[in-house]
Amino acid sequence: MTLHAVTIPKWGLAMEEGTLTSWLVAEGATVTPGEEIAEIETSKITNVLESQVSGVLRRRLAEEGDLKPVGALIGVVTDADYADADIDAFVAEFEARFATEEKVGSGAPVPETLSVDSKPIRFLKIAGSDGADGTPAVLIHGFGGDYLNWMFNQAALATARDVYAIDLPGHGGSTKDVGTATLDSLAETVDAWMAAQGLAKAHVVAHSMGAGVALSLALAHPGRVASLTALCGTGFGGTLNDDYVEGFLAAQKRKDLKPVAALLFADGDLVTREMLEDLIDYKRIDGVPEALRLLIDNALSADAIAALEAKRGDLKAPLLAIYGAEDQVVRTPAADKLPAGAAVIPATGHMPHLEAAEAVNAKIAGFLAAND
């Protein structure tokens, strides 16, 4: 007879995996069609797996308690005298094919959550490549953003160092409690998170409102910040477009949000339906509209930005300021008002790290390496 594969069955439309709770037949035992071989438990039921064929159960390939996807090989039934080597070859080939068909976990890093002042703060760590020993970097997104804003940058910067992207309070997977929602209070949260994460000192790369937070952090805790990279930052000479922040908060539907989100880019067509739906989903979470309101009224108020601007001269850490030439959210200052060494990226709006990721990554990587 040929080799017969015993696999995890699919009982019901929704079944995707099953746990082998017990073997009912010993390895080497003879089985007949309809004979119960094993008990398998799904999230709904436990059921018995019956043999489809007559033969000898030559291999048991799963331990009791193993959770396996539907279709996974758990045993082999064949003749008593079938060559062991041929059975092993069959098993190896089956498993190799099954593994490629299965969507195997890519090993991609997943975000973690840390409790800071007993509130959850989410972040994604991408560990530096082997042998990379640069000072770690911390990435801070802007108003309404989250760690995914750095999707084109974080891994690129991690060739030389560990890179962390944090979700600020009120954003992403972090607490929606923004406290007083001032730049200083947000900076204190970042400081406490860095302490809890064991980051004594890091390069801070920050966008928009996040750059205001980073500047507040550098002024309050100079020891924490090895260097500061500010992308389209509030507090770095630009003027905030209130239509953007108010429009972002007010939009309830995809259609209303679309023209607002288009302000983020030099090329408004970059706004995808998925991006809009992700933003709408975020704004629907309980507490988010209130948090955004508080941030607009405090961290993003004209007074707060002016006060920060006035203190910028006290910054001790090296500064790289990057701007988008066509920024419609934090309008880029005139050339003579730019900080020394500033870079203005042509044909980009408020998101140069997305619109011109390679150029921006190269600039930041060079700056961080020079200040390690």
Partner: protein, 335 residues
């Protein structure tokens, strides 16, 4: 984002709202389990475990096991709702609608209108719908078309765990009676679901696949099947847009018309017999309001006009399958 099952998403929604609002109560058969019996408290949590663990946190005064009497469950819930509570009543199988339809469509759905807008009826009626379980004609129906045609009822059909949580929270916060229809085949479906509470407004479609050639409108389990058909046809060069209106009442006709304006071709997939179905309703509305945009006749994919068969082989043919959906799309794409 955390991965959770449809079942878990529903459980979280109930838990969030029960914590937030002490007026929210649950009522139904075996939703706690073991009332009046010796043994483990909270052993059951409803036939498919959606309410498991809630009696432990909120107690039997808020998680109320009832005798087998659907008319009592719905009548008590309607009464509780107009007297200030926010009940979530569990009908179990939607097929049992027959025994409590008066409470639902003649009482709960009418209160707001018959009391001049002075009465609100914030009740949610959860029910399991759909086929695929070899459960025969009395346990396999969807019945959403019957419910959709009743003014005063809102009808919700979540197609994934994320929507299940957000729509159930909205249903509980809503001041009108809401039929919340959960497909039996989806309780183990896993997807990204935030830990926080969030509410998805009714009457807002989600586009689950983007394409310029053919629009497919589908609800509940049929969304996933339509997505699979769309993915299949992409390889054949047919780009399909799948619109999941998420609620049949209110219906986001604007999003459907907007998509048809671009594609000119419409397939409506509905797990329901064809007559007076959502497939028939949406076809009629698009024919009425979007006729000039159509470049091909509308095609519907439904169950046949018979009760659901008990034979597994026949039931598989009875329900719209990925293959039938794909064939329908190919048919309109060629015209």
């Amino acid at each position: 984002m955390p991965q959770k099952s449809y079942r878990q998403a529903l459980n979280e929604a109930l838990r969030h709202e029960m914590r937030r609002d002490p007026r929210v109560i649950l009522i139904g058969e075996d939703i706690a389990g073991g009332a009046g019996c010796e043994g483990e408290e909270d052993a059951y949590g409803g036939v498919l475990g959606v309410t498991k663990g809630l009696v432990g946190e909120f107690g039997r005064a808020r998680v109320i096991d009832t005798p087998i009497s659907e008319s009592a469950i719905m009548g008590a819930a309607a009464g509780a709702a107009i007297s200030g509570l926010r009940p979530v009543a569990d009908l179990m199988f939607v097929d049992f609608l027959g025994v409590c339809f008066d409470q639902i469509f003649n009482q709960a759905a009418k209160f707001r209108y018959m009391f001049g807008g002075k009465a609100v009826t914030p009740m949610v009626m959860r029910a399991m719908i759909g086929g695929g379980f070899r459960a025969g004609g009395q346990h396999s129906q969807t019945l959403h078309p019957m419910l959709t045609m009743v003014p005063g009822l809102k009808v919700v059909m979540p197609s994934n765990p994320y929507d299940a949580k957000g729509l159930l929270i909205q249903a509980i916060r809503d001041d009108d009676p809401v039929m919340f229809l959960e497909h039996k085949a989806m309780y183990d479906m896993v997807g990204e679901v935030p830990d926080e509470a969030y509410a998805i407004p009714f009457g807002e479609a989600r586009i689950t696949r983007t394409g310029k050639d053919v629009t497919v409108v589908a609800f509940s389990l049929m969304v996933e099947r339509s997505n699979q058909a769309a993915d299949l046809l992409k390889k054949e060069g047919i780009l399909v847009e799948v619109v999941d209106p998420r609620t049949t009442s209110p219906l986001d006709l604007d999003s459907i018309l907007e998509s048809v304006e671009m594609t000119g071709r419409l397939v409506v997939v509905d797990e329901s017999p064809p007559r007076c179905s959502l497939a028939a309703d949406i076809s009629a509305q698009v024919a009425e309001h979007g006729f000039d945009d159509l470049t091909a006749p509308i095609v519907t994919v439904t169950c046949p006009h018979t009760p659901s068969p008990f034979s597994p082989a026949l039931e598989d043919l009875y329900m719209p399958s990925v293959e039938r959906i794909a064939d329908a799309i190919r048919k309109v794409a060629k015209k």
